[in-house]
């Protein structure tokens, strides 16, 4: 039914202003009243809370907290200033409520046109009870999605919009509400990060380079070795296959903050590994696995294998078991060598299935917080960087700036740049991958 083409009659037009009137006038009393109540609530909300909050969003507060001379008392009294942080938060909330209302309004218009269309066709309009029932049937998606959407809006979208806006302010360690105000600064954070050549850009570009190098190497090594391990375990003649797999996947089950903190302790200059090596006379000087900047980078890559191989191994095992044996038998009859079979049958299948996995792994590694944070904490500290160390990735740098430095504006700027990088990479790779193109026909 194409409701767009119907010429709106009077009740439908009144619905432009008074939501639900079209439903109400045509007998869907309850529905009409509910549409209107929603509109009323929004208008009242805007008058009493929304519009003042929008004003605060523009100024971000004007009165700083401070001491003012009170003539009646004859002393200085502390005055509560504006809190830029809260003003921005409320402002964002109002914008999101307004956006939600736009959807509400459009849905109400659709409902108004539908009611008109049904009436013109001479059909009886569904009563309130039937409408409710359709929430379990045709409109079941609304019932199921209500909670997830609320959750995502409140705890993902709202905070994200807030942080994106923060990157256009000077909300850093010197401008912390409620003591101080912060204000809009336009693109200043981005330009000092990317173009001005100060400490920030001298930190950003090397850290970005290491992040990309890390992501490529970490993804490639754990992928290759994971595939090899899976092939090794699945080899004909190897016994106790489940046992070997189980040993490897204990790494997935043990919380990373346990296993990686243990590794950190073991790899310390005075940790178990150095002690063991010294004792057996293999080395005469302690090795700075985590304290030498080059060695630390190698160490995190190696330890990442410990975490990454089991995942790839699991996925590849699933694929290997799914390849029909007849293909190999046919190839053997044709006299193909083992290597040819691997290259022509096994590998293409693995690559086809794991391409999306590889991309998610790569993006995941760009944002691989745990390994770096738990193992080296970004260290050893690099004094030419802005509060960052040699093994810091953009995401751990972002975390440190948030948790330790409270330079929220810079942290948000980094977050946005990471998003842009990840988005470009996934768009370029994902849309070109074979599995994406073939999946197109599936949907």
């Amino acid at each position: 039914m194409d409701t767009q083409k119907i010429k709106s009659d009077l009740p439908t037009r009144i619905s432009y202003v008074i939501l639900g009137y079209s439903n109400f006038a045509r007998g869907q009393r309850m529905k009409g009243i509910l549409w209107f109540l929603g509109e009323l609530l929004y208008i009242l909300f805007m008058i009493f809370l929304g519009i003042p909050a929008l004003g605060g969003l523009i100024t971000l507060g004007e009165n700083e907290q401070g001491w003012v001379y009170d003539e009646a008392l004859g002393i200085n009294v502390r005055t509560e200033g504006d809190n830029s942080m809260l003003l921005l938060l409320y402002g964002v909330a109002v914008i999101m409520i307004t956006a939600a209302f736009v959807f509400y309004y459009l849905a109400a218009q659709k409902s108004a046109r539908e009611a008109q269309a049904e009436e013109e066709r001479g059909r009886r309009l569904p009563g309130f009870r039937e409408d409710m029932h359709s929430l379990l049937d045709k409109k079941f998606y609304i019932t199921l999605l209500a909670i997830p959407v609320i959750g995502v809006v409140l705890f993902t979208i709202l905070p994200l919009v807030y942080m994106v806006l923060i990157s256009f302010t000077n909300y850093d360690s010197d401008h912390q509400p409620p003591g101080k105000l912060f204000d809009w600064v336009g693109f200043d954070n981005f330009s000092s990060m990317l173009f001005e050549g100060g400490t920030l850009s001298r930190s950003f570009f090397p850290i970005l380079a290491w992040t990309l190098v890390w992501a490529v190497l970490a993804t490639a090594t754990s992928y290759i070795f994971g595939v090899l391990t899976a092939i090794l375990i699945n080899k004909k003649g190897i016994k106790f296959k489940p046992l070997w797999r189980t040993i490897l996947i204990t790494t997935i089950a043990i919380p990373q903050f346990v296993s990686l903190l243990i590794m950190r302790n073991m790899l310390n200059d005075y940790g178990a590994i150095n002690e063991l090596l010294l004792k057996f006379g293999i080395i005469s000087e302690r090795i700075g696995f985590l304290s030498d900047s080059t060695l630390a980078k190698i160490t995190v890559l190696v330890v990442n294998l410990w975490v990454g191989i089991p995942y790839t191994m699991l996925i590849t095992t699933g694929i290997l078991l799914n390849i029909p044996q007849e293909q190999y038998e046919a190839a053997t009859v044709d006299g193909a060598s083992k290597f040819t079979m691997f290259r022509k049958i096994t590998l293409p299948q693995i690559l086809f299935v794991t391409t999306p996995y590889l991309i998610t792994q790569f993006i995941g590694n760009i944002n691989n917080f745990n390994i770096i944070y738990l193992l080296t904490d970004g260290g050893p500290l690099n004094s030419s960087y802005y509060y960052a160390g040699s093994t810091d990735l953009l995401v751990t740098w972002l975390y440190k700036l948030t948790a330790n430095q409270r330079d929220y504006n810079i942290a948000s700027t980094i977050g946005i740049l990471v998003f842009i990088i990840s988005a470009v990479i996934s768009l370029l790779t994902y849309t070109r991958s074979k599995s994406y193109k073939e999946e197109g026909g599936y949907q």
Binding site: L89, P159, L248, A411
Partner: protein
């Protein structure tokens, strides 16, 4: 060398590699178990094997509540993980079902939005989530943790959706002809057929609160009694506590790693089906 001998040699080599891998993989596990039984305190000791063995670390972990109360943390984590597991599983499974089985105008854009939101680094909005919770007075409560862990579920539906896509749509159609509503199809047909993916979702969502040491710390601040085990154990390793608490940390690590590992190994089959099923069939 005969072909048979060659094959034997190859197998021996493979076994050798597997044994080496197993040793490397289990080495840290062995070491943490040894540390948890170590008599002498301190984080760095010159020996791999302890000089004396004791169960005191385990006993003190639960009995000494002067600074930290591990038993309380364990209870907190259990409550949070059960609640958030129930809520998150419900959210993920229903979103996945809707995206796989129902057609409505916003579907495609919602799926794209979920992908896009996933590209932002999670820690970027950490502090804003804290501000949101603070503005409604919910910080330092277990409820806040449950909300934070569950709320993201609406974005993690892709794997389960991939699974639902493999259930033939003809079954839905047959049920519709018999007059079943969508809600009935969901509960009576799709869910019973989806045991692997449901177990997988329950498993991963149940494990998450035991592993997160960042969000819980941000939300709980310095309120030790509301910590989860992950934050608590992590705090034991901060500079002022590490010398006394390192062996207890190891004991605590063993205490939570063993149940999780056993749970994981017993449900391994579903985990493998979950990740491969989701990715193999797209």
């Amino acid at each position: 060398m005969s072909a048979k001998a060659k094959r034997r040699l190859g197998l021996a080599g493979s076994y050798a590699i597997l044994v080496v891998l197993s040793v490397v993989w289990l080495f840290p596990v062995l070491w943490v178990v040894l540390t948890s039984l170590r008599e002498e305190k301190g984080s760095f000791v010159p020996n791999f094997f302890p000089e004396g063995y004791t169960f005191d670390n385990y006993i003190e972990l639960f009995s000494d509540t002067s600074v930290f109360s591990f038993g309380q943390w364990f209870a907190n984590t259990l409550i949070v993980s059960i609640a958030s597991c129930a809520l998150t599983t419900f959210i993920i499974i229903s979103t996945a079902y809707v995206m796989s089985r129902m057609r409505f105008s916003m579907r495609k854009s919602m799926m794209k939005l979920a992908l896009i939101l996933g590209l932002f680094p999670g820690f970027m909005s950490m502090i804003a989530v804290y501000f949101v919770l603070k503005s409604v007075g919910l910080t330092q409560s277990l409820l806040a943790l449950v909300l934070v862990y569950s709320a993201g579920g609406g974005l993690q539906f892709y794997i389960s959706k991939g699974f639902f896509d493999t259930i033939p749509y003809a079954m839905d159609e047959a049920a519709m002809i018999d007059g079943a509503t969508k809600a009935q199809i969901f509960t009576k047909i799709t869910l019973p057929l989806s045991k692997p993916i449901i177990v997988y979702t329950i498993l991963t969502t149940f494990m998450a609160p035991w592993m997160d040491f960042i969000f819980a710390r941000v939300i709980m601040g310095d309120n030790y009694s509301k910590y989860t085990v992950a934050v608590g154990l992590y705090t034991m390793l901060s500079r002022e506590f590490i010398d006394i608490y390192f062996t207890r940390f190891a004991a605590g690590a063993v205490c939570i790693a063993i149940p999780i590992t056993l749970l994981f190994i017993s449900l391994q089959k579903y985990y493998v089906e979950g990740i491969t099923g989701g990715s193999v069939k797209g």
